[in-house]
Amino acid sequence: MTATVTDQLTPQQAGTRAHAVLDEIERAVVGKRAALELVMLGVLAGGHVLIEDLPGLGKTLLARSFSTVLGLDFRRIQFTPDLLPSDVTGAPFYDQRTGEMVFRPGPVFAHLLLADEINRTPPKTQAALLEAMAEAQVSTDGVTRPLPKPFVVIATNNPIEYEGTYALPEAQLDRFLLRVRMGYLPVSEEAAMLRRRLDRDTPEAVLNTLSNPGEVVAMRDALERVEVNDDLVDYIIALVDATRRHAQIQVGASPRGGLALVQLARARAVMAGRDYVIPEDVKAVALPALAHRVTLKPELWVRRISADDVIAGLVQSVPTPQTTPVPAQGRAQGANAPVPNAPVPNAPVPNAPVPNPANPVGA
């Protein structure tokens, strides 16, 4: 894999490179291909990733491996209760030689920021990340400083140790493009992981750098050449709307959730080497993109029902686009009409063939 800066990549090229990156990372993070792909989707879609799971499952290793293989500048913040916002964003200090206040950039000025155990710091410090995550810039002392491109926050969150933690506010949760759960390895793969550790001399596998920031930006730009059919836009809207109407959900997904679904679905299409999104893409990313954006009704904790369960059920109930395209006059009635099984050989296709595939519909 060459690490040259490429101005423009086709979705197929971007997908090939993304898979090469994942293959390399998988040398260090064993048996977590699904989680790795989700994180890669987040990186490609230009968002931030929240990794939530128990300690010792390789969350930090995963973030470091991504930075190494993607060739990104890596910083890590260990969030603690006494961490201050200026410890994250940076602060001006007095330079005695020049007699001026000089801004010293904080760790947020990096390509890839690992916010380890983000729920261990008070909301004030968590909020210091808000602007950085949403706008990719930091404003201090009336001066706005842009962050390097690409800028990715991979935050880890320990869901079991609640003592001395501060739950992430909904506003900040919403800024994470997706939430990933790692989960335990299957027994056979855990044995393989131990075997790999015994077979090598170093504590961790040494990974090769296969990419660079410019290429990551080019891979992101390739998403803009992935088209999204109107019926799939309707499907995404139906999914988001269903979270707002669900009986067990108090607060549904925000419009940002719909945008996240679109971008993640496009990223998944890129990973599959396609320049068009199919319903499988949307369905596959709905759970990681929406589950952390909804607030369940408080009584549900008694029944041990999680947002993941609700969203999973919801995804299985919202109708996918019909097999045959809806005629133009029928689109106004919504995409939730019953799905006919009978073929309609001469049904009109709303999207006429366009010679130039690099003209995305949903861009």
Partner: protein
């Protein structure tokens, strides 16, 4: 023909409605039985127990329906274990309501005065020696109450109560058996819809299935041959495959993606190899992209459809051989 997926919960709801009717009737029988046993005492629910029982049944039934709807929404895509647990909610509600009704009937109307033995029996238990105890305590309690309560409250007939209780238990067992049987049948239908049995059973039950398969594949062929636009032709061809799968027992659910439908069809043994995957991929490109679709893609779709049709015909022929369907099927 196994088509349980089209309305999978209809059977469960009918069974639940039937069970509820039986339970209501049973509750009435139990209440009548209780009336005959002379339990109408001066308890807190005296005179209003029937109203109370009716209220409990109505409220319980309403709650059960609400919970059932929520569970339907919640477990639409749940695991089999979750579905099984969810399916127990309604019978659980019914049983709890029933237990409450019976409890209120028997205990809520009961007099606070305990049914006492006859005074003579009380005398009989006195020790002849009379040492250490006051022999007059029990008889005096019985003799003081008995004259006042005897005219208004006849002694409890435990034999009638026992018979009523046994009848009640029997009816509960019958209802439980009916519920379990109906759920087993539904589960069997659902499993059959995606299993090998569905194909065989469907072909065995419906002699016209083979014709439907042949018709669907023919429709796909016609679409591929006649339609000038390869994109529309490929979509129609996929729709033909979808219909042929539906006729074979694996119909598309409303929230299914093409891949999920293909997976279920593969699990049912209806499709094999790469043909169906190829056709599904071509369909995805034709349906959701604006790429120009060429003749070679039409040819790919045609080849895939032929392969699928051949496999379905072989499956139908195998089913014919197994179940002795005489009709010739040519796909």
């Amino acid at each position: 023909m196994a088509r349980g997926n089209d309305n999978p919960r209809l059977g469960a709801r009918l069974a639940a409605a039937l069970g509820a009717a039986v339970v209501l009737g049973m509750a009435a029988v139990a209440l009548n039985a209780a009336r005959g046993t002379g339990l109408a005492g001066d308890g807190p629910a005296k005179g209003t127990w029937a109203l109370l029982a009716l209220g409990i049944v109505v409220v319980g039934w309403t709650l059960a329906i609400q919970v059932r709807r929520r569970q339907d929404r919640l477990t639409a895509g749940g695991t089999p274990t979750q579905s099984r647990i969810a399916s127990l909610v309604l019978p659980g509600f019914i049983l709890m309501g029933l237990a409450t009704v019976v409890g209120v009937t028997i205990l809520g109307t009961r007099s606070v005065q305990l049914p006492l033995p006859q005074p003579n029996q009380g005398v009989a238990v006195d020790r002849p020696t009379g040492a250490g105890r006051t022999p007059t305590a029990l008889p005096s309690y019985g003799s003081a109450d008995q004259p006042s309560s005897a005219p208004s409250s006849p002694p409890v007939n435990f034999q009638d109560l026992l018979i009523g209780f046994l009848v009640f238990l029997g009816v509960v067992l019958v209802v439980l058996l009916a519920v379990v049987l109906s759920r087993w049948l539904i589960a069997r239908r659902r499993a059959g819809a995606v299993g090998e049995d569905a194909v065989d059973g469907g072909l065995d039950e419906d002699d016209g299935t083979g014709d439907a398969l042949a018709g669907a594949v023919q429709a796909g062929r016609r679409a591929l041959a006649d339609d000038p636009d390869p994109r529309t032709a490929i979509i129609a061809c996929y729709a033909a495959m979808e219909k042929s799968l539906a006729e074979s027992g694996v119909s598309r659910r409303k929230a299914d993606t093409p891949t999920e439908l293909l997976q279920r069809a593969a699990e049912a043994g209806l499709v094999q190899g790469h043909a169906a995957q190829t056709l599904t991929d071509l369909f995805g490109e034709a349906r959701y992209s604006t790429h120009p679709m060429g003749e070679h893609q039409r040819d790919q779709a045609r080849a895939a459809l032929e392969s699928i049709g051949a496999h379905l015909a072989a499956a139908a022929a195998e089913a014919d051989a197994r179940f002795g369907v005489r009709e010739e099927v040519e796909i």
